[in-house]
Symmetry: C2
Subunit: 143 residues, 2 copies
Amino acid sequence: MDICVTSLLRDKGFKVTPQRLAIYNALVATKAHPSAEMIYNELQPVYPTMSLATVYKTIEILKTLKLVQVLNVGEDSFRYDADTTNHPHIRCMCCGRVDDLHGVDSTEFTDQVAATTKYTIQGQQFYFYGVCPKCQAAASAAS
Amino acid sequence: MDICVTSLLRDKGFKVTPQRLAIYNALVATKAHPSAEMIYNELQPVYPTMSLATVYKTIEILKTLKLVQVLNVGEDSFRYDADTTNHPHIRCMCCGRVDDLHGVDSTEFTDQVAATTKYTIQGQQFYFYGVCPKCQAAASAAS
DNA sequence: TTCAGTGCAAAAGATTTGCAACCCG
DNA sequence: CGGGTTGCAAATCTTTTGCACTGAA
């Protein structure tokens, strides 16, 4: 997949730098839907001189290349997902973790919306909020 | 409905002030899903001394009273909706307006999610992105 | 060699907080 | 009258921007 990013970057006239590869690889390697700062912190040990600004600038490029999607789970910061398929997300209101919801079919719902609205639909984001298994266990243990 | 907010505030030990009523009424009166700043600007002529901080503090209270819901449509700021029923929203990627999507049934979709996930689900937000009728017209006129 | 990219620092926005004066109850 | 509320200003936090230096091609 490095090859893929590499050629995609080159094709669009972007240069291939170690920072960009590291940021993209970090996103591909995790299911935690990290924020810019989380990515920055994770790469600190390996790239001690990399700045947060570079993370933001790189994410901007990855967005335009459609290699990442942006999540707005309702926190103060954005989160990013290298899985650009159209899937819902769920956030734990207790610990803040964000998980994917795969294997759910929303086509009937989205078809209804498309048929009802006068908008031309181009994208969608479905967010659920709840308590994750770990926090449920922690809560029952505490009681 | 003023009566309703008034007693709700009092019941919870909050004082009833003109600012709070004005902010809530502004939210009830619009379908534009305004941001804090939009509310502030709208009330400026009537309450020239009111500050943005008061808008934020009041919205915080209205949230705890479940009188408004928060929308995260992917802009840099939050938007608010005094219609607290569970309905999807759609944002125009061209002009930024946010509309309600009523009359769409998402129960089958949400049931599927509830059955699949190990989370305890407590809330949800569905966002669609597209181009509103006005911007479509403007685009075709321009071409 | 050359120009896009990096990293730093400063800027820009949104939201929060501290605090003295104010006013609802 | 008293404590919650307001409004201002300053603080905080995320994200963006300007710019000199660096490094990919």
